[in-house]
Amino acid sequence: MPEAAEYAKATDKQNLLVTGKIKNFHTLQPVNMLYHEMRYAALNQYIQQNGYTNVLDIACGFSSRGLYMARHGIRFVGAEFPAVAAYGNNYLKKCLTPAERKLASYAVADATDKEQMMAAADLMTGPVCITMDGLMMYLTHEQQASVLQNIKAILQKHGGCYITTDFSAREFVMDASKVVYGENDARKVYRESAKVYEDIADADFDEKFFANDEEATRFIAAQGLKVQRIPLFSRPTKLYSEKGLNKQQLQRLDSMKNAAIVWLITCESRRMIE
């Protein structure tokens, strides 16, 4: 992903990257590249195809989505903790032109804090597409409910939708593993991939995931939100991470691109987009 490389370069801290410390790096690498690029690209495609002009990316970290959106004329607000927001705004400043900079910014907002989240959303006018790439697996179910309530409040006020693959993250990584390595060892590849991130952040994802999709759907519905599952990509999409895959792997990837892995969550009482 060119903008991710650009963003990483803007940090001036690439010397911190030591992949040699990652166990089974060469096995995990192609799977994780696919997973990360697909979830990133799928949400971006949904936003553009559905004509959204506002994006609120919750707990976006140092995602390069802000660069991508600003360069496509879409207003982007990344909701983050203060330290990350400060660094993030600096990185955006380094990468974007003055005109693009007006479209992308970080706002200080804890996803579980209703006032901060609403203030971040209020930086935009009109329907908002709320995105999330990798937060829910860090939160207890109680915290997840709180985040969903805040999202609901924003959707009730602004209209729009919330899209994420977080509720299918475990299966998503396993499916990506099946693309690269076939049916064998998908769970093992998922576990070892998850461990890379769990070790960095001292987290336990399996403790936070719902047992299955039905349980997650019921949980979201109980917060007064409507869930719909949609395909990752609704039009032919070429990925950077598919270069180097063989014919058989590409066939499996093509079928995965149509899998209903994106969770489209809306609030029934408001329109999605004007």
Partner: protein, 90 residues
């Protein structure tokens, strides 16, 4: 970036074969076999170091260029820690 990207995917998938080939190449070079029609004046050690250096340089750079997610995530967690936070809050 694309070149590094392709190279790193190639290396990742064929690492064992590449390592065996390199070992074989060094072995043959040091034995003075005719694999590259060399004679005694051929800078064997220099060539070995260059091949190995090039391999490490290119593969190292390609890893750095393509693994932004882990790098950016690691940096993210470090910045959160600076602010007394953990990923996901707390």
């Amino acid at each position: 970036m694309t070149d590094y990207f392709l190279l790193s995917v190639f290396i990742a998938r064929n690492r064992n074969i590449l390592e065996e080939l390199l070992q074989e190449l060094f072995y043959l070079l040091h034995l003075g076999k005719n694999v590259v029609n060399m004679d005694k004046r051929f800078p064997v050690r220099l060539l070995s170091v260059l091949v190995l250096g090039l391999f490490l340089l290119l593969s190292g750079k390609s890893w750095a260029a393509e693994f932004e997610p882990v790098f950016l995530y690691g940096l993210y967690v470090a910045v959160l820690a600076e602010g007394g936070r953990r990923a996901g809050g707390g």
